[in-house]
């Protein structure tokens, strides 16, 4: 890729971040997912925890078990092993078809956002209901997906003034990404849709369903249909249809 990436950096006193890009890109996301996966396979006792962000792999390390230099060497050697940017996505990926109300009083920022993106309501909905987005990482709160990449017209900055609160299962967008919120939260992201899909629900046998590499597509519903789903939603599935991705 560029001369600067991949590169290693520090997070606090005990974290190493292996970064594959400083801007959001699908190949850097694939690289980060694959790199973390392969490091995990090596079962290093000095690595106590790992996770992915959009374009980086994070490792929490214990330098009492192994000196920092030796841990950094290990990462460097792994990085040199291959071109991580051409890595395949994880196996056993799934497609989530999630019912969603776009706009209305349930998602008040939709109209403003399509104006910013310069498209009509029907064009926007066509894009969200026909283009699959990839779950690039899970983070912020339990089971919450950051999905992308949307086309360039969705490269909208977050709001400078954080909105008071958007509800659980809200669909929000900014910087070419979509998020479905696990919990009600204040945010600078634009609230464009409302689903009934709970990213985390402890009533389910599997409280967290989405994994990096999975794909999301939306099915447009109206607010009456959303209330119907909500009336019978103890498992928090919100009417989702989950399909295996075969490739």
């Amino acid at each position: 890729m560029t001369n600067n990436f991949p590169k290693m950096n520090f997070v606090g006193i005990d974290g190493i971040l292996v970064q594959f890009s400083d801007e959001i890109r699908e190949n850097a996301n694939s690289a980060a997912l694959a790199f973390r996966h392969e490091v995990e396979q090596k079962n290093q006792s000095s690595i106590i925890e790992s996770a992915n962000s959009l374009t980086a792999a994070y490792f929490r390390i214990d330098t009492k078990i192994e000196p920092l230099d030796s841990i950094l060497n290990f990462f460097n050697e792994m990085l040199r092993e291959k071109n991580w940017y051409t890595s395949k996505l994880p196996k056993d990926r799934k497609l989530f078809k999630i019912p969603c109300v776009f706009g209305t009083e349930l998602a008040p920022q939709f109209e403003k956002v399509i104006k910013l993106a310069g498209i009509s309501r029907s064009q926007a909905i066509l894009e969200f209901t026909t283009t699959r987005t990839r779950v690039m990482t899970i983070g912020f709160s339990p089971g919450q997906p950051y999905a992308g990449l949307l086309s360039k017209k969705w490269d909208l900055p977050r709001l400078a003034e954080v909105s008071k609160s958007v509800p659980q299962s809200a669909l929000v967008c900014a910087i070419r990404q979509l998020i479905i919120f696990s919990n009600s939260t204040p945010t600078g992201w634009h609230h464009i849709g409302q689903t009934a899909f709970e990213c985390f629900n402890s009533n389910r046998q599997q409280p967290i369903l989405l994994r990096p590499g999975d794909e999301i597509i939306f099915v447009e519903i109206n607010s009456g249909e959303l209330s119907q789903i909500n009336n019978n939603n103890a498992d928090g599935l919100g009417g989702v249809e989950i399909l295996e991705i075969t490739n």
Binding site: S50, P142, P157, G188
Partner: protein
């Protein structure tokens, strides 16, 4: 075993928190003041990861349903058993039917009630730390029955502990983190020269800081890609206002971080009350590691801080129960 009669709003069970679930978006959580967990564990001769009740705000009132041994640590609260004062930073026997009362914290925000054997609480993602805002566990509420997770039959002497010094801190140490370079050297210089106040917007997720003068921004701040955040990070929100992240902070965020407070300084900043003023200082990674390892060693030998309490006869309401006269007579013989 205790029954909650009243308790302040956001009090909850906490232990040392969660490890290994960050990849699913699960926060670390755990006691805001981990020194208090170590102190409670030393007083009750148990594991520091035993579940304790973290009290925030106005304390609480508890009915003792079954005699038990407890310890009180963290921010000092006026404490009493059946209206007779109890020493803070100490362990105590509570007898059946008595009422334990804890008042508002005086020198900090977070106070801890520990039970011998630890409180019984469901383990979610390997920890009993509650994070109700994320859908994990619940706040502790009136009428809750608080039981020990294991009953330990043998008795233990009541002790008192010299607490780890952390309630008067004014200087906090930072290391650079992967986004420090997004700030210009001039902004960083201004940051370490600025005196900040602890805002009243403070909870287990983080503490807002206020100061006079302009904010601390980076260029293109609203389009920075979300990435890992950890407790201790100081992030600059939209207007460039610093926010110190604590144990319930999310796993990822998009606000730029100027640096990360070293773990041994985190209990101190969590405990600071609204209006207290502080300053920051960057230290090298080597120095930070030396301080962290010294801190670990101090916690390994925390039991050395325990003493048997010296009881003041003036304050002993139960003085007549002690067989003081017999001893004197026996000595004469």
């Amino acid at each position: 075993m205790l029954e909650v009669i009243s308790i302040s709003g956001f009090s909850s069970f906490q232990d040392m928190g969660r490890n290994g679930f960050r990849s699913q978006g699960i926060s670390r959580s755990g006691a805001a003041d981990y020194y208090a967990l170590f102190e409670g564990a030393a007083l009750l001769d148990q594991n520091p990861n035993s579940t304790a009740l973290e009290l925030i705000g106005n304390g609480g009132k508890f009915r003792v349903l079954q005699g038990c041994m407890v310890a009180l640590t963290g921010a000092f609260m006026p404490a009493s058993l059946d209206q007779k004062p109890l020493a803070w930073n100490s362990s105590h026997f509570l007898h059946d039917g008595s009422i334990l009362e804890l008042g508002a914290p005086q020198n900090g925000r977070y106070s801890y009630l520990h039970l011998r054997g630890g409180f019984k609480a469901p383990k979610i993602f390997n920890s009993s730390s509650a994070q109700p805002s994320a859908g994990i566990g619940n706040y502790t509420r009136p009428k809750d029955i608080l039981e020990p997770s294991e009953k330990i039959p043998e008795t233990l002497k009541c002790q008192t502990i010299e607490p780890v010094d952390r309630f008067e801190s004014t200087n906090f140490r930072l290391v650079e983190s992967f986004q420090t370079h997004l700030f210009t050297p001039k902004t960083i210089k201004k940051f370490v020269e600025t005196e900040f106040s602890i805002d009243n917007q403070a909870n287990r997720g983080g503490v807002k800081l206020t100061h006079t003068g302009s904010g601390f921004s980076t260029s293109n701040q609203l389009k920075i890609m979300s990435d890992m955040i950890i407790p201790g990070d100081i992030q600059m929100t939209g207007s460039g206002q610093p926010f110190v992240l604590l144990s319930d902070c999310q796993t990822m965020g998009g606000y730029p971080r100027i640096g990360c407070i070293i773990p041994p300084d985190l209990p101190a900043i969590a405990q600071l009350k609204t209006g207290r003023t502080i300053k920051f200082k960057f230290i090298s990674r080597d120095e930070a590691n030396r301080i962290a390892s010294k801190d670990r060693k101090c916690l390994e030998i925390i039991k050395e801080r325990c003493l048997e309490p010296i009881r003041d006869p003036q304050k002993m309401a139960d003085l007549l129960n002690f067989n003081l006269i017999d001893g004197a007579v026996w000595a004469k013989n």
